[in-house]
């Protein structure tokens, strides 16, 4: 459904992405792992045109675009098919939870207001915030804010949701509630591309795991392939560092 070919991106002299390929099918939950600075977040942002890639192609269903010089129309079309969940939530500060969720529906997609509100409420209910429709972001905890962020993405009913380290700005005790919500929507068959440091999520939920380092894909495969029998030295080193010594996986 989504195919990325040979994407390159530099910031000044730093080459962040050195030719990455990626392929996601409908219903996949693809998790990208890797040390910070490996280019995971940049890859995600380039797919949604929050950064302009230097070169590369994307095939999105029947839509084919060049990631460097896509037209405004194409960018708009891709953003209509995708949704993005940000590391620091980026909820609209001047809108309530329900307004945050319906903004894209009413203004971006021209869905009638009443329908949009119905969709929005359902999305907020799904993330367990049925009592917070009218709260402003400043009145919500970090975990609640991120759940609104997820509801905002889910409500758009996109072909794929891009998650950019959705739990890394949260206090440890709030990570669980967000991961639970993510697991639930994954179980409903939502296509997801997730950049995260949460190994348990990768292990339990991912249908496919990609390990990135230094701007390239080092290794990819099922979570069993990556966690239990990694082939590449760099993957092993990374896992050894992030996982406790005596941690064993049962899949």
């Amino acid at each position: 459904m989504l195919k990325i070919n040979d994407i390159h991106k530099s910031f000044g002299k730093n080459e962040i992405l050195k030719g990455v390929d990626l392929s996601i099918d409908k219903g996949d939950v693809v998790v990208i792992l890797g040390p910070s600075g490996s280019g995971k977040t940049t890859l995600l942002r380039c797919i949604n045109f929050l950064e302009r890639a230097d070169s590369g192609n994307a095939t999105f269903g029947d839509l084919q675009v060049n990631l460097h010089d896509a037209s405004k129309k194409d960018i708009h079309a891709i953003r209509q098919k995708t949704a993005f969940v940000f590391q620091n939530y980026n909820l609209f500060n001047n809108k309530t939870a329900i307004e945050n969720v319906t903004e894209g529906l009413i203004i971006g997609r021209k869905i009638p207001k009443a329908d949009a509100i119905a969709i929005g409420k359902k999305a907020l209910d799904k993330v367990g915030l049925s009592d917070k429709y009218d709260s402003y972001p400043s009145q919500l905890s970090g975990g609640q804010q991120q759940r609104v962020g997820i509801a905002r993405a889910v409500a758009l009913n996109p072909d794929i949701i891009l998650f950019d380290e959705p739990t890394s700005a949260l206090d440890p005790e709030l990570v669980g509630e967000v991961l639970t919500v993510m697991k639930n929507i994954a179980n409903e068959g939502t296509t997801m591309l997730v950049v995260t440091h949460e190994m348990s999520f990768a292990k339990d939920v991912a249908s496919h795991v990609i390990f990135m380092d230094g701007g390239v894909v080092v290794e990819e495969g099922s979570s069993h392939d990556i966690f239990v029998s990694p082939k590449e030295e760099r993957t092993k080193k990374f896992l050894k560092r992030v996982l406790p010594e005596d941690y064993t996986f049962y899949i």
Binding site: L50, H76, F86, N90, F92, N93, N94, T96, G108, Q139
Partner: protein, 238 residues
């Protein structure tokens, strides 16, 4: 203290107020026009400062620095004498132009510089992520500015806009120096008619008028800020 009454008579303060107040109309008209034009040009300057063109940035910043360094009275006279002199070169005769026009030009120039900074800093206070989130849910860039960025920037900019208004009103008090009969001009006429006696009382009356106006503007913007600051937790700074 008996012989002080000869010099200071408090009744002059109350008696001059009804004569002075109607001339606030002139003060308001001049200030109002300067605000409208100044905000418009300030917006253009702010766009130049925030844009990608280095030349536009430099030009706008240079303009702001120059205006920040120029005393109002100097700018006022520079416009008053300079604009007609400049117009002469183009065969235009502007020496008989209404004084109010020169005052409006002066304070438009000044207010534009103030507003460009107010708008720039308000815009920059909004995180980039707000825009990114807006386009990621399918808003066009224009919709993102109008619905997400602008309402938030407005709240940030409002107090500074209010302060700018108060500053403009006060600097405007110098318009009498080129002969505008606003409230200060009228006060000077009253004093001249009294053969320069009881000037102090008239000046105190003037001070009261300006003081009350400034407090009203401040209160008004405080209220306005509360109305607009949806979603912002109020932090008590006192």
């Amino acid at each position: 203290m008996r012989n002080m009454e000869k010099y200071f008579d408090i009744s002059y303060i109350w008696n001059s107020l009804p004569v002075l107040l109607p001339f606030l109309k002139v003060t308001f008209m001049v200030a109002g026009l300067s605000i409208v034009f100044g905000t418009f040009f300030g917006l253009i300057l702010a766009v130049m400062k925030l844009g990608k063109s280095k030349i536009a940035q430099k030009t706008a910043n240079f303009y702001t620095t120059i205006l920040r360094c120029t005393p109002s009275i100097v700018l006022l006279f520079l416009v008053y004498y300079g604009v007609p002199a400049l117009a002469d070169n183009f065969g235009l005769y502007l020496h008989d132009l209404n004084t109010a026009v020169f005052v409006v030009i002066t304070f438009t120039l000044q207010f534009a510089a103030i507003m460009s900074e107010v708008i720039r800093s308000a815009y920059e206070s909004i995180e980039k992520g707000q825009f990114e989130a807006a386009v990621s849910v399918g808003l066009s860039p224009f919709q993102a500015y109008r619905r997400i960025i602008f309402p938030q920037a407005l709240v940030v900019g409002l107090p500074n806009f209010g302060n700018g208004l108060i500053a403009l009103l006060q600097e405007g008090s110098l318009a009498y120096t080129i002969g505008l009969i606003d409230i200060v001009g009228k006060a000077n006429l009253i004093i001249a008619a009294n053969y320069n006696t009881h000037a102090l009382e008239i000046f105190i009356a003037l001070a009261i008028v300006y003081w009350v106006l400034s407090i009203l503007i401040e209160k008004f913007f405080g209220k306005l800020e509360k109305v607009f600051s949806k979603g912002k937790q109020t932090i008590n700074t006192n």
